[in-house]
Amino acid sequence: MMPPPVHPQVPLSPPPGPSSPTLIGYLWRWLLGFPFVVRVRGLAMGTVSWGRALVTAVPFLWLLLFFGLPFLVVLKLSFSQAVLAQPPYTPLFSWAEDGIMVLRINFQNYLLLVQDSLYWVAYLNSLRIAAIATVCCLLLGYPMAYAISKAKAEFRIPLLMLIILPFWTSFLIRVYAWIGILKNNGLLNNFLLWLGVIDDPLPLMHTDFSVLIGIVYSYLPFMVLPLYATLSRMDESLLEAAADLGCRPGKAFLTITLPLSMPGVIAGSMLVFIPSVGEFVIPDLLGGPNTLMIGKVLWTEFFSNKDWPVASAVAVATLLLLVVPIVRFQKAQEETAKKTEEGRT
């Protein structure tokens, strides 16, 4: 019998004895709302230890400083104005002559996002391409994951390794490979010309199609792996029971396998969709001047136009766009984690 799970003990009183909180300790707790007293199972035994606080604080502070704080900076900058200076933006706060702090909030950048159709088109196009790419990945990845999960046991690991292997090679170079294949005098066109299927090279490069191919190619492993994980965990006897009750294999797949693999479908789709929306390298290398995607727009605003405030506003807007799928994804992840945890105990 596993010991029962330990729940946190409610009152987070200041720790007794030598580790009672110093002024800095209180300040820190107050600032972060982060407890010193952590009820622990395993390593720590309910007594308060500075070691444990340190273990928690180091990664937490790192991420707060280099991941959390930067977003506040972006948010702040999105309300300033671009100027030709170093750094190229106006300060949000300034001191007026009579010593009063002046807060200058500038909504120009957000207005621009609403008024200029360039941004609208880029947002919608990003969502559209990411959605189509996700569906393509699912259509290709599901049968692959299914086939691997049904392969003989000794082949499964090598087959999975072959899915993961491209991931370990350079992403940039894998995208580059498609330039050689898709361009006008590229391998695919040469091959089709040689076959006589076409008389003139097809314009494949610098289109939405080439961007789509690039995204599907790069993100396919992220679809296959979670799908394989759920499909391989599925109890084979469920299908046997269905067959025993008179269900034909095709119907059993639709009524049993597919619904039970939905967690994998959702996880895989999110893992493809979310990063595709903000993708920069693929639209930049494979897309044309008309392939507007939001990651590329942000890059251009920042590097070519040197307009940091507008780039920040684009970033904030993109984040707002992605917040719903990201939160859903995290919820789903937590639930799966909880389920495995319960399965263990």
Partner: protein
């Protein structure tokens, strides 16, 4: 319909793997092409490898990238192990949701946003406290650590939660203090996950173009940045040669790792 099902599954797999591997194969084949025109075969040659070896820009960029990748991987394993311990062992606590969000958000955050926000913060920090001064290796390492820690944490946390907690409890019970239990018991048991996490962070860092482009300063170019600027100008046989070398190293490394794992497994089975 029984008998054509295996055939159908086989076809799907063949098509899928062809899709994954044909582009890589084409890169390798044309790296041995005599012609500068990558897509027109003009005879076998290894001259692009020769040119690559003498391309100082690529070599120094590769050196910088490797340094950054090693530092990043080592740091990410340390931070990721700490974060993994917090998530897997410290139960529920106030602030856990904030902690989990911070840990997992970089996994799904678009790279352009990570890069932009970090650069803007570095600029702001420089205005306020005068650090980090010139941007380059330090800022790239910090940026890479921030997102690779997330990946390493996931790897290590899942290994820690699979591990039997009573092994740690037994060590405590036999008189070892918590810190000692961690180094003598926990670390050896989760060692494979630590290695996997290190390799993952190493690859992520070596592979990153977008974030490094934002946070790097003049004069510090990583390998992906050099490759990118070359690729933007069109296909180049030298890049094919570089790709072939990278694919070769990765394949050999994975084959060796697979062989070692296979041998260990066989030994284990034999002894039982």
């Amino acid at each position: 319909m029984r008998h054509w099902r295996p055939f159908l599954l086989f076809t799907v797999l063949a098509f899928g793997y062809a899709f994954l591997y044909l582009p890589i194969m084409s890169l390798i084949v044309y790296s041995f092409n005599e012609s500068r025109l990558v897509t027109v075969w003009a005879g076998f040659s290894t001259k692009w490898y020769g040119e690559l070896v003498h391309n100082d820009q690529i070599l120094s960029a590769a050196g910088l990238s490797l340094q950054i990748a090693v530092i990043n991987a080592t740091g990410a394993v340390i931070l990721g192990t700490l974060a993994g311990l917090v998530l897997a062992r410290f139960g529920r606590f106030r602030g856990r949701t904030a902690f989990t969000t911070l840990i997992t958000a970089p996994l799904v955050m678009p790279e352009v946003i990570i890069g932009l926000s970090l650069l803007l913060m570095f600029v702001a920090m420089e205005n306020v406290i005068g650090w980090p001064g010139t941007r380059g290796m330090t800022t790239i390492v910090i940026a890479h650590l921030t997102f690779s820690t997330a990946y390493v944490t996931v790897v290590i946390q899942s290994r820690l939660s699979q591990m039997d907690v009573s092994i740690e409890e037994a060590a405590l019970d036999l008189g070892a203090k918590p810190a000692k239990v961690f180094f003598v018991i926990t670390v050896p048991v989760i060692a494979p996950a630590l290695v996997a996490g290190w390799l993952l962070a190493f690859t992520l860092s070596l592979d990153d173009l977008v974030v490094a482009s934002f946070v790097s300063g003049p004069g510090a170019s990583t390998l992906p940045m050099v490759v990118y600027s070359s690729v933007r100008l069109g296909v180049s046989p030298q890049i094919n040669a570089l790709a072939t070398i990278i694919v070769g190293i990765v394949t050999v490394a994975i084959l060796v790792a697979g062989y070692l794992m296979h041998r260990q497994e066989k030994q284990r089975l034999k002894m039982q």
